[in-house]
Amino acid sequence: MPAPTVRPETEIDGSSGEPGDRGGDSAAGSPAARCRHCDRPFRSESAWALHLGEVHPDALSPDERKAYEAADADERDELFVYHMKVVVALGLLYAGFVLVYMVLVQTF
């Protein structure tokens, strides 16, 4: 397997005037956090911590590791809920189409 390509978010804007910039959870121009390895800014601490753990796993300080593990655990929980919703949505989608089709078959 090739080494994972690090693909930095190369275009950084800190200004609020950028189209699509909704301000986020930090003041315009001052990111919540910035990666010390690749200088990328993040709108939230959790995104920063996840980035560190995923892109620079071998260069974490103990504090950063702790932050990553916490963010990862948080996201794991969030993801579980999200996936529950996804499974329900898939089920409904499937059931809905089967039902509609059955109705159709009777109608036509």
Binding site: M1, P2, P4, T5, V6, R7, P8, E9, T10, E11, I12, D13, G14, E18, P19, G20, D21, R22, G24, D25, P31, R40, P41, F42, R43, S44, S46, A47, W48, L50, H51, E54, V55, A71, E75, E78, L79, Y82, H83, V86, A89, L90, L93, Y94, F97, V100, Y101, L104, F108
Partner: protein, 580 residues
């Protein structure tokens, strides 16, 4: 161009006639012989189709065959320009016993559903591993070079044959080598090979071969060395090019980016839609000749690498399609991955040296890789900005081709044309306006993706980052539209190739009815692959697992809308475009 044609009436003419070979169809239908069974068979199918739920598309339920094309031609008795490479998918929606809205809904839901499925796969490493999987196939360099040379010579021979046959051969499109080779052989069959197998166009491209010879001749005349063109690879300096009869002109292809090919692609589609290019061998030969002159002169002046890398639209189409293919050149994606630092990515292909990188690869890199379909698209990084415009143009071209022959468009256009606006203007406005609208919608999606992902990455960058995911959609439609066309015409094509000087009476294959379902599946497969590519590249740019998933929402909405719209378009009965 024929006069304004009314909506073809009568069941047979309602059929979506995929083969464009309608023009002189009248004489073919009188051929008893191999063509006749096809007609008979088709009308049998029509009878069956008439009982289908959708009366409106009853005849569209007929698998489009040459038989149908013949019937259409015999009834409408006029060239149906671009009768179009739109599709046989009318047949899909029509032949199924379910109403159109259900087909559309199911199509959209299949795309949305596949997004839901991919959202369950959130392991960055795992997804990257799947797409990074490659099986190197190392080949002796001499074998590759020989293969390339063979393809190159074959390409030139085919080009010469097409032009000669188009100019001096039969005018009946069904036995015209030019028409059959260009449309069935090349645009249907060969194009499919670029995304199903691999992009061989850099080697097979006859214009590239000619330009290579031309460059050598030019170097011999001027005494300069080929491969030492004065262009700056980083696109810094403008390059003064001496054009015969014109003098020195300053051109800076690197600055144009992909825009020349965007314009070129739209122009080609426009010509294809507004002229009977697929029925008239003489016209076809003229267009091919014009394209040849423009391409060879341009490529010799600017260097083949610049011309075929950034200006020629056809090469760019095949290059994008080739990234879907399971076979690629080993290490090709390295040149296309500009994202290793913060620098603005180069249009990798627009480098200006006279050497032709796609052809003259270093001996060490000789080899192919086997990879998963679409994996090549996930390794690109962010393509240059105007590549976005090109990919969107590719998508829009497919849609435009179909849209102009829908009743809805014709109802819209008829008053305008009656009011005295020339048809050519109306169609040009639609072409440019629709392209602009497609681009705007995609840009809007990218802006929204930025919000959903809660990121500092600019919308502009995301726009480029996600654009490879649109390519499989275009390829899926291409395959769906052209597979039955190709199969139907392949015996005629083979006959004409086996005996170019006196081609046998054309034989057509009647594609079985279940093929409709395959086509529908192919369209959906294209979209599913698109969803997968979008998912993979999203995981590659955003941290965590939820941000990448959420970032795809706007794009998925666009894809669902696009699926539904396109299925609707191809399900419409064929109407000869008004005003042409």
């Amino acid at each position: 161009m024929s006069d304004q044609q009314e909506v073809a009436s009568g069941s047979a003419t309602d059929g979506r006639t995929e083969p464009t070979l309608g023009g002189d169809g009248g004489n073919v239908s009188s051929d008893s012989g191999p063509g006749a069974p096809a007609v008979a068979d088709a009308s049998g199918l029509a009878a069956r189709g008439a009982t289908a739920a959708l009366d409106r598309t009853s005849a569209a339920a007929v698998r489009p065959t040459i038989g149908i094309a013949v019937a259409v031609a015999a009834t409408a008795l006029a060239a149906t320009p671009a009768a179009a490479h739109v599709g046989s998918l009318g047949a899909v929606a029509g032949s199924s016993a379910v109403p159109l809205w259900y087909v559309l809904l199911a199509g959209g839901a299949a795309v949305g559903g596949s997004f839901l499925f991919t959202s369950l796969l959130t392991d960055h490493e795992g997804v990257r591993m799947v797409n990074g999987w490659r099986l190197p196939v190392r080949l002796p360099h001499s074998a590759l070079a020989g293969w390339r040379r063979l393809l190159g010579v074959t390409g030139v021979a085919v080009l010469v044959a097409v032009v000669l046959s188009g100019l001096f051969g039969p005018t009946d499109p069904f036995v015209s080598l030019a028409v059959l080779v260009v449309w069935a052989g090349w645009w249907a069959g060969y194009t499919a090979s670029t995304y199903l197998l691999g992009d061989t166009w850099p080697a097979a491209n006859p214009w590239r071969t000619l330009a290579g010879w031309g460059t050598r001749v030019r170097a011999g005349l001027t005494g300069s060395q080929p491969g030492r063109e004065p262009a700056e690879p980083d696109g810094g300096a403008a390059d003064a090019v001496r054009v015969p009869l014109v003098g020195e002109i300053a051109v800076d292809p690197a600055r144009w980016g992909a825009w020349p090919s965007v314009v070129g692609l739209l122009a080609l589609v426009y010509v294809e839609v507004t002229t009977p290019l697929a029925e008239d061998p003489r016209l076809l030969a003229g267009v091919v000749l014009a394209y040849t002159v423009a391409t060879v002169v341009g490529a010799v002046a600017l260097g083949p690498a610049v011309w075929f890398g950034s200006i020629d639209p056809v090469s760019r189409v095949f290059r994008w399609y080739g990234r879907i293919a399971p076979f690629g050149r080993l290490g090709d994606d390295v040149t296309g991955d500009p994202s290793d630092d913060a620098s603005e990515p180069e249009p990798a292909s627009a480098g200006g040296s006279g050497v032709d990188p796609e052809r003259d690869s270093a001996p060490g890199t000789a080899g192919l890789e086997l990879r998963l379909p679409g994996a090549g698209l996930t390794r690109l990084g962010a393509p240059a900005r105007d590549e976005t415009a090109f990919v969107v143009a590719l998508l829009w071209a497919t849609t435009y081709d179909g849209l102009v022959s829908t009743p809805a468009w014709n109802d819209l256009a008829r008053p305008v044309v009656s009011a005295g606006v020339p048809g050519l203007v109306v169609y040009a406005v639609l072409l440019v306006g629709g392209f602009g609208a497609f681009l705007a919608v995609y840009r809007l999606a990218a802006r929204n993706a930025r919000t959903w992902a809660d990121t500092y990455v600019t919308a502009d960058y995301l726009e480029r980052w996600f654009v490879p995911s649109l390519v499989p959609i275009a390829a899926g439609y291409h395959l769906a539209h052209f597979s039955s066309y190709f199969l139907t015409l392949s015996p005629a094509l083979a006959g004409v190739l086996a005996n170019p000087l006196s081609p046998p009476a054309p034989v057509f294959v009647v594609v079985p009815g279940w093929f409709d379902t395959i086509q529908l599946l192919v369209v959906l497969l294209g979209h599913v692959l698109a969803v997968w590519v979008a998912h993979a590249v999203a995981l590659d740019i955003f941290p965590g697992r939820l941000r990448p998933v959420r970032s795809q929402y706007p794009l998925i909405v666009v894809m669902v809308v696009y699926t539904t719209t396109s299925l609707w378009i191809v399900a419409q009965p064929y109407v000869a475009p008004v005003g042409l």
